[in-house]
């Protein structure tokens, strides 16, 4: 069965993404710029077990108040520096990279919300790639 984020999980991702990539000067807020319509394309090759775990975590995140979410994200971020190789810290590290990967994949990409007309994150970086095919 294809991996598909529920509305609830997508809401959780938007909340998390806003912590990683808030509105800041020229940078757009994750919530307004992220092309969540493309989200499912980016997870179609994620193993089903991993996807289901991620989807569940995101759905839970959608219910959490922002201060608690910030605390959890900080926990994940700090796990990167923890000497512990226990199950909790291993999972937090994987969650840290998984969430960041998903958020940055749509934030630093061409796949923005079609209703968003402002400057994209890639434009703020002034990133241009020239592909010469012929």
């Amino acid at each position: 069965m294809a991996n598909f984020f529920s509305t609830r999980a997508t809401k959780g991702l938007l909340n998390v993404g806003e912590i990683y990539c808030p509105k800041n000067g020229e940078f757009p807020s994750f919530k307004e710029a992220a092309g969540t319509a493309y989200l499912n394309n980016f997870v179609k090759n994620v193993p089903e077990d991993d996807f289901n775990s991620l989807s569940l975590v995101l759905a839970i995140f959608s219910f959490l108040p922002n201060f608690l979410l910030v605390w959890i994200i900080n926990l994940c971020t700090n796990a990167q520096n923890s000497p512990s190789d226990g199950l909790l810290y291993s999972n937090l590290r994987q969650l840290n990279l998984g969430l960041r990967g998903l958020c940055y994949s749509i934030y630093y990409s061409e796949f923005t919300n079609p209703n968003y007309k402002g400057k994209k994150a890639l434009d703020v970086l002034d990133y241009k790639l020239n592909r010469v095919t012929e």
């Binding site: 800041n24 810290y89 990279l97 010469v132």
Partner: protein, 459 residues
């Protein structure tokens, strides 16, 4: 149908091997789990590249969640997304292989004709000063000031159109002009024209060798399929071949299966310059360290770079601090240290085929990393970097071991003739047979080992 040879996996090893076997007139089938992309169908964006071309939908993790592994899934394998840097192994690497495995043909003299043949079948280009971009110039000039030896890289490429300002970071998701000499371009597409049968999107999970032939079992579009060849060669890479061997029940017969895994852990640091560097533009990687002291100390440095999502992933900061760092994307100078690591890792597999990879950094690995970081810091400071970002995240691109070659079936998986110990019709030819980490880009040697095996099988 009974094939003369079935090659499972189409990366550096499988691509070259199937080309040479097919050239001999044999009936060869090349099987690949991933899709068959061409220059005009590769993903066009970084986000799609990560999501579509890699196992795990982007990245796989070591058990402790510290190290990420990048493992590709498509016809051409890792050679599609890597930089195609073509280096021969030196005496140090081959001697260490010989000593660890007991295989006496791991010598520069015996490997030379295989390197020669593979090199003659590719278009190779060695960079020069005029082709260097600012990231490379900053690196080389600082090395000169510090007394570090460096050299130009040799890359497989035919026509990258630098005069038209083509940006080669784009080809990290597959070369869209068939210039990069991936296995797809240098071998598979040529063999395809000469009759090589290629079946993509077919994932083999089990091999069944017998006295005269070998069957492979897998799934294609959700349906069970079986193919049979007089000889089967696994070329699925360290994870892929090891997984197939695990799922075929070899762990009880060959206790070394899955062991001696190494990955050349890579650590990227960034230096922020006052002037624009544009490290993502043009021929973005042209030089590397060539310092014998670094080699002796077990690391090398390269002036790599990546597209924004990957650079963002190097940073553990969130929010405004993350954006402050990313805003300087065009001002970033980048150097990585690749560690010649000890083969202390292990690839395990459950009965459903789920891999668990243990890859601790040993004390020696950490010492080598720290020495490399010290050299990077010196280079970045000498280059005038106003700020240095020391990323803690590290990853493995060169996945090696798991089915190592050796003379003893108790401590290795394949014998010096590439045959699985105790089997007559089952072979392995890819990076999984590496006895230990060479500390050198492995692509050319994997292809050359494929050529060596092809010569042996054709006889």
């Amino acid at each position: 149908m009974l094939y003369d040879f079935i090659v499972v996996g189409s990366g550096s090893g499988g691509g070259a091997l199937s080309y040479y076997l097919n050239k001999s007139g044999a009936k060869v089938l090349l099987l690949e789990a991933g899709k068959f992309y061409r220059k005009d169908t590769f993903p066009k964006t970084e986000a799609e590249t990560s999501a579509y071309l890699y196992w795990g939908g982007g990245i796989e993790f070591a058990k402790d969640g510290r190290m990420g592994f990048l493992r590709t899934k498509m016809v051409g394998g890792s050679s599609i997304v890597y930089q195609c840097l073509m280096d021969r192994f030196d005496d140090i690497a081959l001697n260490d292989w010989k000593n660890e495995s007991g295989v006496n043909w791991f010598t520069p003299e015996i490997m030379a004709p295989h390197y020669d043949q593979v090199e003659s079948d590719m278009v190779l280009h060695t960079f020069c000063r005029e082709e260097m971009r600012p990231n490379g110039i900053l690196f080389a000039d600082a090395c000169d000031k510090l007394g570090y030896k460096w050299g130009y890289l040799r890359r497989g490429q035919s026509n990258c159109a630098p005069e038209k300002d083509n940006d080669c970071t784009g080809c990290l998701g597959g070369c869209f002009r068939d210039s990069k000499q991936s296995s797809l371009v240098a071998f598979i597409q040529k063999a395809e024209k000469e009759g090589l049968e290629i079946i993509a999107e077919t994932e083999i999970y089990k091999v069944e060798p017998n006295k005269d032939t070998c069957k492979v079992h897998g799934f294609q579009n959700g349906k069970q399929v079986t193919f049979e060849g007089k000889k089967v060669i696994l070329s699925g890479g360290a994870f892929g071949s090891t997984r197939m061997m695990h799922m075929s029940g070899y762990k009880s017969k060959l206790p070394a299966l899955g062991k001696k895994f190494a990955s050349h852990p890579q650590f990227m640091w960034l230096g922020f310059q006052n002037e624009i560097v544009d490290a993502h533009k043009g021929m973005f990687q042209s030089v590397a360290s060539k310092d014998p002291n670094f080699r002796a100390q077990g690391f090398k440095l390269e002036n790599v770079f990546a597209s924004p999502i990957s650079i963002g992933m190097l940073m553990n900061e969130t929010g405004i601090e993350h954006q402050r760092l990313m805003k300087q994307y065009r001002y970033m100078q980048c150097i990585e240290v690749a560690v010649r690591d000890e083969n202390a890792g292990e690839i395990l597999c459950d009965n459903k085929g789920k891999l668990t990879v243990s890859k601790p950094l040993t004390d020696q690995d950490k010492t080598r990393r720290d020495k490399g970081h010290h050299a990077i810091e010196n280079i970045l400071n000498t280059s005038g970097a106003k700020e240095i970002y020391k990323s803690k995240f590290y990853f493995g691109l060169h996945l090696m071991g798991g089915c190592t070659m050796g003379v003893d079936g108790a401590t290795s998986v394949v014998n010096p003739d590439f045959q699985v110990h105790g089997e007559k019709t089952l072979y392995i030819a890819d990076s999984s047979i590496f006895p230990n980490a060479p500390g050198i880009n492995p692509g050319l040697t994997i292809k050359s080992l494929g050529h060596k095996l092809a010569q042996q099988l054709i006889k």
